[in-house]
């Protein structure tokens, strides 16, 4: 039993040593925590920012945590309950609004009112994505919305001259480029309402403007859903559009036998990495018909529970100002919502990388046509009520009519509870 006893001793020792030195979270008087959403690949950049931020402010400490999407919620919710929320958080899509509705986030409206210079930094429409009940809760960190990528060689082969200009043309184009399993005409991402432009361009409204009642259960919506389902049966739209996550549709498009991909701008870098066929000559970039697009941007907010809100606000301004935002835009080749920065980086890209330029340019055009970004405080509940039903119809499990009826029933309930 010798080894066992010694092991026990060492274990106890290890436990002891690691119990004492660790300070309770948030005790350092001037410490803030920065929680990011899956941007670990920019480790160097963010650590650089923190160094600079600390250097300019003696006695200030910034702790950086990064969590991947699925882990973000459990972590943040637990920290909220324990009363130790990270001071500055970076969330994707509508999650920020939900945290705001939950009372987790600091209202930035008065701060922005005080500092007009900060507010005018950002594209108003993107800034507006995080307005909940008239208050700003987040600033743009980096922004994306959907667009239409298309495979020019496949278009040429099918005798198509240019990108579709209407919903029906999307379907007919898709049909033309579909041949059995060898190739599919159209794909879209489906998470976070990213597929919504397909409905928006047909004038389908999800809810009434006051967000109180459902408005989608109309004959037109039934017709649209039915057409999409039929096109899916005919393989003109690949099933993966309705079942895949982020990798499958992008990977498939990268494989080179998908005619059109409706996805947001980061998709480009993914399928470029997968598909050797992707060149400025072969890749087409366009807006969806009617210039509709669903944003899926990253915002920065401050937790109400922050011990040092002013420092957190200071950090927020620091991260989003031209210097830092510029570096991020440069390294990640993205747009930040900071008007000046995006202007400069696009000008630079126009020479260096025309394709990326073309892709990113769309992100700043027609920002007034953004859809699928209702300012719900319970977005994910609404989604849970709506999407599975629609998905069932798209995959031919239910007929469009009853699917939309069920969706309406469940969604009305959620809206009523909110």
């Amino acid at each position: 039993m010798v080894t066992r006893r010694t092991l026990l001793k060492t274990a106890a020792a290890a436990a002891a040593t690691s119990v004492f030195p660790t300070p309770a979270i948030g005790q350092a008087s001037k410490k803030i925590t920065f929680l990011t959403w899956n941007i670990i690949d920019q480790k160097e950049l963010i650590e650089g920012w923190i160094k600079r931020f600390q250097a300019a402010r003696p006695g200030v400490e910034v702790e950086w945590l990064d969590k991947k999407g699925p882990d973000f919620g459990p972590f943040y919710q637990t920290q909220l309950t324990a009363g130790t929320p990270p001071d500055v958080i970076n969330t994707q899509g509508a999650l920020g609004l939900e945290y705001a509705a939950q009372g987790a986030l600091l209202d930035l409206t008065p701060l922005l009112a005080k500092e007009a210079a900060i507010k005018s930094r950002f594209d108003a429409n993107y800034l507006g994505n995080w307005i909940y009940e008239g208050h700003n809760y987040m600033l743009p960190f980096y922004i994306t919305k959907t667009l239409l990528f298309y495979n020019k060689p496949m278009f040429a082969k099918a005798g198509l001259t240019g990108p579709p200009t209407s919903f029906d043309e999307i379907l007919s184009h898709a049909q033309k480029m579909t041949s059995g399993e060898a190739s599919t005409g159209f794909m879209t991402l489906n998470f976070d309402w990213l597929y919504w432009p397909l409905f928006a361009m047909n004038g389908v409204q999800l809810v009434t403007p006051d967000l109180k009642k459902t408005a989608f259960n109309t004959p037109k919506a039934v017709e649209v859903l039915d057409k999409l389902a039929k096109a899916t049966q005919a393989n003109a739209i690949n099933k993966i559009s309705w079942t895949g996550r982020w990798v499958e549709p992008n990977g498939a498009f990268g494989a080179g036998n998908v005619g059109m991909l409706h996805a947001h701008s980061p998709a480009y870098f993914f399928f470029k990495g997968q598909g050797s066929w992707v060149t400025p000559e072969t890749l087409g970039v366009a807006h969806m018909p009617g210039f509709y697009a669903t944003p899926n941007s990253h915002g920065l907010g401050i937790s109400k529970g922050s011990k040092n809100p002013e420092l957190a606000w200071d950090f927020l301004k620091f991260v989003t100002d031209n210097g830092q935002a510029g570096e991020l835009a440069e390294r990640r080749k993205l747009v930040t919502g900071n008007i000046a920065v995006d202007k400069a980086s696009l000008a630079k890209l126009e020479k260096e990388d025309p394709t990326v330029y073309a892709v990113l340019k769309t992100q700043l055009e027609h920002t007034d046509k953004m859809t699928g970004n209702w300012r719900f405080g319970n977005d994910s509940r609404v989604k849970e009520a709506f999407w599975p039903e629609v998905q069932s119809a798209l995959l031919g499990r239910k007929d469009a009519k009853s699917a939309l009826a069920d969706a309406e029933r469940r969604m009305s309930r959620e809206l009523a509870r909110a």
């Binding site: 290890a14 436990a15 660790t22 690949d41 991947k68 459990p74 982020w246 990798v247």
Partner: protein, 277 residues
């Protein structure tokens, strides 16, 4: 008689092997894919699927080593798992033995243990976190290992093993005046080596692969365990990169090692001899 058995034995033996080979095949195919993807840079969604690895290499493992602070995470994982294994072997043996004795409220305890198994951790996250915070064990090895210090399944493994030991042996030992401690250490445990092995293997694996708990209670990067490295490989490129699978393999190896070391106890005959006594 003897030769007849032999004559019957051979086709039977072939059948056994056949069955096992089939099972092994089913078990190995997905496994082969983990390995294959780990030694190539193929996108697993590429079509058509390649059966054999194209230009295999081992550099993904090097990447894993450097893309996360692997040695540090490894050390953390080993410490935490060691604590868990020791806790399990000791506490479960004691509890298991207690459950073989009869005492007032035995059924109640039994019921409590069984029902404790039926609570999913996903539903326990928040209270478990708060409790650990109260005890000041956030960010500590002990806090990481605590929830797994004793596991019910393994308690029942011990219970079952102890019950299979003939009462006569224990009574004899009692008559010789051995204390309860000595009965466990000198009589029961030596006869329950497979149970010990099972405890070691299972508790090791459970704490080794534990993801959600470390994710929640470690803020300090230096306290993180191997599974937390996972998120890094899933980031951005999701699951299309060989590095992810290389990582999975590297995390797997220690568990297999423990299994191989412990499974000596599953070889028929080691224990049976003693039980004849």
């Amino acid at each position: 008689m003897a030769e007849s058995t032999i004559r019957r034995a051979t086709p039977l033996l072939a059948l056994r092997h056949l069955a096992l080979v089939v099972v092994s095949f089913v078990m190995l195919v997905p496994f082969y894919w983990v390995l294959k993807t780990a030694i190539t840079n193929e996108n697993i969604y590429a079509y058509p699927p390649g059966i054999l690895p194209r230009e295999p290499h081992l550099y993904n493992f090097v990447d894993v080593w450097y893309l996360i602070p692997f040695p540090r995470y490894l050390a953390n994982s080993i410490i935490v798992s060691t604590i868990a294994v020791i806790g399990n072997v000791v506490f479960n043996a004691l509890a298991g033995y207690a459950l073989t004795r009869d005492f007032p409220g035995r059924r109640a305890v039994l019921a409590l243990f069984l029902s404790c198994m039926l609570i999913p951790f996903q539903a326990a996250i928040i209270p478990a976190y708060l409790v650990t915070a109260k005890m000041g064990l956030l960010n500590t090895y002990f806090g990481l290992a605590f929830p797994l210090l004793s596991t019910i399944v393994c308690i029942f493994v011990f219970k079952a093993a102890f019950e299979a030991v003939p009462r006569s042996l224990i009574d004899a030992a009692r008559i010789d005046g051995l204390s309860e401690w000595r009965i466990i250490v000198r009589v029961l445990l030596p006869l329950s080596k497979p149970a010990i092995a099972t405890n070691v293997i299972l508790s090791f694996i459970w704490s080794w692969n534990n993801f959600l708990w470390p994710l929640l209670i470690t803020r300090d990067p230096l306290m993180q365990t191997l599974p937390l490295g996972l998120a890094r490989f899933l980031s951005y490129m999701e699951d299309t990169t060989g590095a992810l699978y290389a990582f999975a393999v590297m995390v797997l190896v220690p568990s297999i090692l423990v299994f191989l070391m412990a499974q000596k106890e599953f070889i028929r005959g080691l224990t049976s001899g003693a039980t004849k006594g």
